[in-house]
């Protein structure tokens, strides 16, 4: 229900928002602080929400979001705006920064893949699903797809995505064979995407498909 309330205000023209994000990145590259403010005003809430979901601490979440905007500000000149939605890049950076903090807080070693060419790359790489185009209804569908997963599968995805556990750590936590966990995480993630119509279809056309 929170989702419906939170998303009651839908983007009236998401395409314009996406172009505006790319334009804001270009202006940030030129040193325009107003462009960073725009980006924050558009996406600060969804980024903060993700950081809170992972860190369960508002103070830490604030720092993670601040770090990410600092990185976006510094890297704006190098960001290739044709690679994908800026918001997707910001979201993946918030996740990786939050997980860095979470693992450090628990005394766990940083993720093995967490070095400049792995997790950071994943964050920097394009995320072709256009998060800027998502409607309330589509997010509700993704959420429903998540709820529909068997409990073990949902738990595995939650541990991997929100708790930042490696697949081996997830397998240990859930007392399941590693191979099973790996397959469950992959297939479960794909189910989320399958909840939305394929590319190029409008949401109306995609009704009932999945």
């Amino acid at each position: 229900m929170w989702l419906l309330l939170a998303l009651a205000v839908e983007a009236d023209d998401p395409r314009r928002s996406r172009d505006a994000d790319a334009e804001a990145m270009r202006r940030m590259a030129a040193g325009d602080g107003g462009a960073l403010a725009e980006l924050y005003d558009r996406h600060g809430r969804v980024l903060f929400s993700l950081a809170v979901r992972i860190l369960r601490d508002h103070g830490d979440a604030e720092e993670a979001v601040q770090d990410v905007f600092a990185q976006a500000w510094r890297q704006a000149a190098r960001y290739d705006t044709t690679r994908g939605a800026v918001v997707a890049w910001l979201l993946m950076m918030v996740r990786s920064r939050s997980i860095d903090r979470l693992r450090a807080r628990r005394g766990q070693p940083p993720l093995q893949g967490d070095h400049p060419t792995a997790l950071r790359d994943a964050a920097d790489a394009s995320t072709p699903v256009d998060l800027a185009f998502l409607t309330t209804d589509q997010i509700a569908r993704v959420r429903a797809a998540l709820e529909d997963l068997p409990e073990v599968q949902r738990a595995a995805i939650d541990l991997a995505f929100h708790e930042g556990l490696t697949h081996a750590e997830v397998a240990e936590r859930l007392q399941q064979p590693l191979g099973t966990i790996k397959t469950r995480i992959r297939l479960g993630l794909l189910r989320l995407r399958a909840a939305l119509p394929a590319h190029g279809e409008t949401h109306e056309k995609g009704e009932g498909d999945a």
Binding site: L3, L5, E10, A11, D12, P14, S17, D21, G31, D32, G33, G34, L36, A37, E38, Y40, D41, R42, G44, R45, F48, V52, V65, A85, V87, M92, V94, S96, L111, Q112, G113, D114, A118, A122, S126, P128, L131, A132, I139, V142, R143, L146, P150, E151, V152, Q153, A155, A160, L165, H167, L174, Q175, P177, G179, T180, K182, I185, L189, R193, L196
Partner: protein, 287 residues
């Protein structure tokens, strides 16, 4: 996608997307990825899924001061918040104009250091006492917070452990209660005559598998469970026995799986293989 159900490299793509792929597996996976369009498509799909997962977090409004903190990064005077009422959770389209920041930066830039110096002097002169009071209050609150965090961590650990147990029991009972349940008894083969196993399979629910008296695995090897069908064997997954040689696990099997004629367990290289290569330890026909 026909091979994606059994090729373990597809599963490793999810680890790559999540940033958790072990370094040792990275080079091989990237080499494959560079040449295989199906793998590239799968990685794209997985990244899309992660983006979708990211936006399903329950919405929380950031505090007002976060905006000022973020904008302080630029070292420029912050522009007024965009007039969005209420702010959209997702990228919404709001019309933004250049708030004349460049112009304002030129004039505000010279004043800021003076204002900061003046503020610092005021604090030093008049507010020293008040700041000590505040500091002790902050110390007290921080101590409270640490105690609360410790309690929360304990509770969270309990919840996680209960959730894990519940998840496993639910998966097992769903399979065992399935209307289309089939049983397979597995007998030990040459290398492991004392080993035995039993499995229950349901097309809709998956596979519960238990085994006993399995031999210890050699270094770098794993047990892999195979579904024997009219065609090639299909991997159900990997498992390791406990110290006593016992194992109990739940496996997802694809709904499209042909009805199993039987099951087999073989010893394979760590990480599993797409088709069986090693010694068969257990085998059994479906009833």
């Amino acid at each position: 996608m026909t091979t994606s159900g059994t090729d373990p490299r597809y599963d490793a793509l999810a680890e790559l997307a999540l940033g958790t792929l072990p370094e040792t597996e990275r080079a091989a996976l990237e080499a494959w990825l560079a040449t295989d369009p199906a793998a590239q498509a799968q990685l794209r799909a997985l990244r899309e899924s992660l983006g979708l997962l990211a936006v399903t977090a329950p919405a929380v409004d950031p505090p007002d001061h976060l905006r000022a903190r973020v904008l302080a990064i630029t070292g420029q005077a912050p522009p007024a918040p965009a007039l969005v009422t209420p702010p959209p959770t997702l990228p919404g389209a709001t019309d933004h104009t250049d708030h004349g920041t460049r112009h304002r930066r030129a004039t505000a830039g010279g004043l800021v250091p003076w204002l900061a110096a003046a503020a610092a002097t005021l604090v030093a002169l008049g507010l020293g006492w008040q700041s000590r009071q505040l500091q002790s209050e902050v110390d007290r609150l921080q101590a409270d917070l640490r105690a609360t965090e410790a309690r929360l961590a304990t509770t969270e650990a309990e919840v996680r452990s209960n959730r894990t147990r519940l998840a496993r029991v639910q998966a097992e009972s769903a399979i065992l209660a399935a209307a289309d349940l089939r049983r397979v008894d597995l007998a030990g083969q040459k290398g492991a005559p004392r080993a035995s196993g039993r499995a229950f399979w349901s097309r809709a629910q998956g596979l519960v598998f238990t085994a006993a008296r399995l031999p210890d695995l050699p270094q770098g090897r794993t047990y892999q469970l195979w579904v024997l069908t009219a065609g090639a064997p299909v991997s159900a997954g990997l498992f390791r026995p406990d110290a006593s040689g016992g194992s109990s696990a739940v496996f997802d099997t694809p709904v499209s799986l042909p009805t199993p004629a039987g099951l087999a367990v073989s010893i394979e290289p760590e990480g599993g293989v797409p088709a069986p290569t090693g010694d068969i330890v257990l085998v059994g026909k479906a009833e």
